[in-house]
Symmetry: C2
Subunit: 345 residues, 2 copies
């Protein structure tokens, strides 16, 4: 039940004024060595910790970063870990809110964090979000904000993301090089930036290899194992079925895999499969699934670093755009011929 000590307590016990104590504790210039030492000694004895609320109230910063993420699955929780690491290092505390991919929830979270007087935001946008006024409100308040992973063109803010187009390109070109001809793509929700970019990469690779795009092989579906399963079933029921599938997430790759197995097709012989994210699960299933690696931890760290910079930098950083390069991990699900890229992790 012992209440934390305050500078007032220390001042009283030492018969000095509050300001002297305050000064001593923050080693201000004008203060007698002896009094200072006495203050420090006593403050340590009493286990003095400055009251953060009072501090924050006074200096109008909470040293807290509001982080909003659509969920806490493997990839995002790894990113958050990266953010946490860097933020802690820089003396910031992180407050994480999940929007559960819900637009309404995201607005709520933004408001809550704004009410909590966080010093700024690090954000990954929910898949449901089309209007971003709630985020603009943040900027309108003059608070720094960094977007990561899922960026959106509607927001002018510093951002960190993977080169998703490159990722889509890598995956698709790999399949082409393995001799697959009719490559389908399970792209994510239509409005989501990452989906589009990965799709762009897919199209680019086809173009480069002079394969003409077949819209029947481009399936938009939710970031979801079940959807991917059903979508794949339909793909495999086509007269001219695809001989390879690129899914823009591993979760979807799993769904596709289940449908492929159910149909009795063998990977990589009958059909090739490549996922995205390189989550641990891809090397646990049989066959192991090739996947484009998402450097989650690094990306999280980069986002936090960029935030700190934005924070300490008066210049306008809103056009800074950090792009990490993806790498493909080739595994059993798509390896038919000699391997050209990295293997395992």
């Amino acid at each position: 039940m012992n209440k934390p000590a305050t500078i007032k307590d220390i001042a009283q016990r030492l018969n000095v004024s509050i300001s002297t104590v305050s000064r001593s504790l923050r080693n201000a210039p004008d203060v007698n060595m002896e009094t200072r030492q006495a203050v420090i000694a006593l403050s340590e004895e009493l286990n003095y910790q400055p009251n953060k609320l009072a501090l924050s109230l006074r200096q109008k910063q909470t040293h807290t970063i509001g982080v909003i993420v659509p969920n806490l699955d493997y990839v995002l929780s790894t990113m958050v870990k990266g953010i946490d690491e860097v933020a802690l290092e820089a003396g910031y505390t992180v407050m994480v809110c999940q929007s559960n991919e819900s637009y309404g929830r995201e607005i709520l979270n933004t408001r809550r964090l704004l009410d909590s007087l966080v010093d700024g935001f690090i954000i990954s946008v929910s898949s449901e979000t089309k209007i971003v006024d709630h985020f603009k409100k943040i900027q309108h308040r003059g608070l720094p904000m960094v977007i990561f992973d899922r960026v959106t063109p509607d927001l002018t803010a510093p951002s960190v993301r993977l080169d998703n187009e490159e990722g889509g390109f890598l995956a698709t070109e790999h399949l082409l090089e393995q001799g697959y001809k009719r490559i389908a793509i399970l792209a994510g929700p239509v409005n989501l930036g990452v989906s589009n970019s990965r799709l762009e990469g897919y199209i680019k690779a086809l173009k480069k290899h002079k394969i003409k795009k077949d819209d029947n092989l481009i399936i938009y579906c939710d970031f979801n194992q079940d959807y991917a399963y059903y979508a794949t079933r339909e793909l495999l029921a086509m007269k001219k079925r695809p001989d390879a599938i690129f899914t823009i997430s591993d979760r979807m790759a799993i769904g596709a895999m289940l449908a492929i197995k159910e149909k009795g097709l063998k990977m990589p012989h009958d059909i090739g499969l490549v996922g995205f994210n390189n989550e641990p699960v891809v090397s646990l299933v049989t066959p192991q699934i090739s996947s484009v690696d998402m450097p989650s931890f690094e990306l999280g760290k980069a986002a936090a670093k960029l935030f700190i910079e934005t924070m300490h930098n008066n210049e306008d950083m809103s056009h800074v755009e950090e792009v990490l390069r993806p790498r493909l991990y080739v595994r059993e699900s798509s390896r038919r011929v000699m391997v050209k890229t990295g293997k395992g992790k």
Copy 2:
């Protein structure tokens, strides 16, 4: 750049005193209808939000709960989601810190959260933690604290956990009923409570079925896929190798599975396997792995509810112990004969 409005702003614009505004906003009894309405109207127009720092400073509560977890893997992040849900509902904000299974980091997190003046704690203990003085400090401050999932006998605090012994019992008895005779267990780290309890359940089941315990079949190892893999290799190299393995986590079950496959043994025919937690991954691998379900989300919610109760309740709740019952999901890795328990999820 528009700074948030304060009651002072409102007071000035309305030519009334600060206290009148304050009263109007918190519909206190003594206040004129007209002035109140004027205040409310303006406060809405200015989008007034009370400053949480000032509030907290004044009333000495932050409405924030500090949550410390060893990691944010599937199980724990689901639990945190449960905590979050209930806390939000009750008007609390949650601050999550990961200890990364590190004792030192846990101490650091405790201190940070204490410094942040959280109103209390919801904690799951790191596997490395043997001394719990840092947690006792919390109680010493008079702050409520609830332990969940990984409880420890050294701490007298309200807790929520799974009946781990029952879980161990269920898994083991199931294997026995499937006709397995030599059942090995990959128990976790020795000091960890959950490990011991699940092991207790295992032993209890053996006793009940008059099988004598063989210490060579009890392997203590880290909560870790690789360790489990190597441990299983050794088990399978024994002269009289086990014909079933119960691992106290799914991660470990995966490790065991890899070793089993490598050895060329078939599940469930040659050897049975049961895991713990019932993570989604167990039904993605081949064969699908039987597992004791951990109701993570529910457990998280229960922990938060218990916290809120403890908070609002003056009585001593430190001996309240909520225990959730586990349930076994039988899958391919251990189903040899007629099924008696639930299937799928």
